[in-house]
Symmetry: C2
Subunit: 249 residues, 2 copies
């Protein structure tokens, strides 16, 4: 049993898996080697808005449970992680909530992040900070987005000094229902802000816009997203795939 486990660990590599499967999409966008090491019993928390939420069941605090993880990129990434690192006893949570902007993560951060004590915290937030402003339903600016996100990360690092941070880039696919030319260049500032903050906080940054831009060379935009914001199943798996590339066992 022990030697079997060792063999399994030695030959299991999500990075290797990812390199072979989709080099033209994801490697073009993410050339680096995996950087986040997962260890026994690690708690992984996914946070964000509707892209993360993806219709998850919210009346429980379950981990590794498919309905609690939603039907989006989190359950796709979780499936890969739980299989590839089956020996590690990972606990994977999804606490994304549809419609959220950064300040709304802040309001529920104690219960939905700090009390969960993640070892790895992944955040995908920002499209609503822009979109809701664009629609006239929110007064925020990119400066507020930055200030709020920095404050959230300061608070997180104070409570969880050893947490490994993964920040995913807000992205949009122009020319689908919700996203037209009027989004640009203003929306790009949110993408750049997320990247700058990831850098400043030593977080691992996942450049989802570049990942989707590469994917558009293989299949049309409708294949990856219905409305330009929310991914299809193919788009969700694409996000999951990019995410799993940054972790290793």
């Amino acid at each position: 049993m022990i030697s079997k486990r060792r063999e399994f660990i030695k030959t299991t590599s999500l990075a290797g898996l990812m390199t072979i499967s989709l080099p033209k999409i994801v490697n073009a966008a993410i050339p680096s080697s995996p950087a986040v090491k997962l260890t026994d019993g690690n708690v992984i928390l996914f946070q964000g808005d509707s892209i993360t939420d993806a219709g998850r069941k919210k009346d429980d605090n379950n981990f590794n449970n498919p309905t609690s993880l939603g039907s989006g990129y989190v359950v796709q990434a979780a499936g890969d992680l739980l299989l590839a690192f089956a020996d590690k006893g990972l606990k994977i949570y999804n606490k994304g909530i549809s419609g959220n902007k950064v300040y709304q993560l802040e309001e529920r951060w104690d219960a939905d992040c700090l009390q969960i004590k993640p070892d790895v915290l992944s955040i995908l937030i920002g499209v609503n900070d822009y979109w809701h402003k664009h629609n006239g339903n929110y007064n925020g600016t990119v400066e507020i987005y930055q200030k709020d996100l920095r404050a959230l990360l300061d608070r997180t690092k104070a409570a969880l000094p050893n947490v490994k941070l993964i920040i995913m880039e807000p992205y949009a696919l122009k020319g689908l229902k919700a996203v037209d030319d009027t989004w640009y260049p203003e929306f790009d500032a949110y993408r750049l802000a997320a990247k700058q903050i990831a850098n400043d906080y030593h977080a691992h940054f996942i450049p989802l816009q570049a990942v989707f831009n590469e994917a558009l060379k293989v299949a049309p935009k409708e294949y990856w997203s219905a409305d330009g914001v929310h991914p299809t199943l193919a788009g969700a798996k694409l996000i999951a795939h990019a995410w799993t590339k940054v972790v290793k066992g």
Copy 2:
């Protein structure tokens, strides 16, 4: 665009991906090379019982839609397929229904299989044919299981002579809630029947019992299944992973 697509196609290989990721679990059980070739616009249909159903939304006829695909192995396999073969425009359906035995597939086969005209048809059926008998709720025998499944496949091949068949082995994990020693050796006859029928009908057989037996060397049974019949998310991804090993682009 064209050359990018060619590069993508050339370098995309689910088989390669699978070989690297989990050799100790799945390769031990499935040493063969991928045999089912997927081509442009292929329709893939997953059929079966609750393991396939996995809480899917049933009031639509959607393909590639995560909630219509359920929260089990089908949505995990579909995510992998839609990403790895993004250039092929695959259409993936799940028509599994919880509790089904073979004769119940037969009753809904026109609407839930033949009218969908799958190019690839995957069937996982049999655990209820035994389990419901064991519980005293069904009079079937393994002979009836075989007879019903052969009749279903005869009917399928008559209507869809070019369909590529994938038959998954019914499996059980002994020592969990629903499965105890009283299942054996009777249940094994259902597994063997599925294998024999796969062979007789030139279907690709996926030996899920062997796959789970290998997985048990890496993590305890509770990690892969809650009750011995229904997989956890890790177990669902394990099934998906074994399934995707038999297809190629």
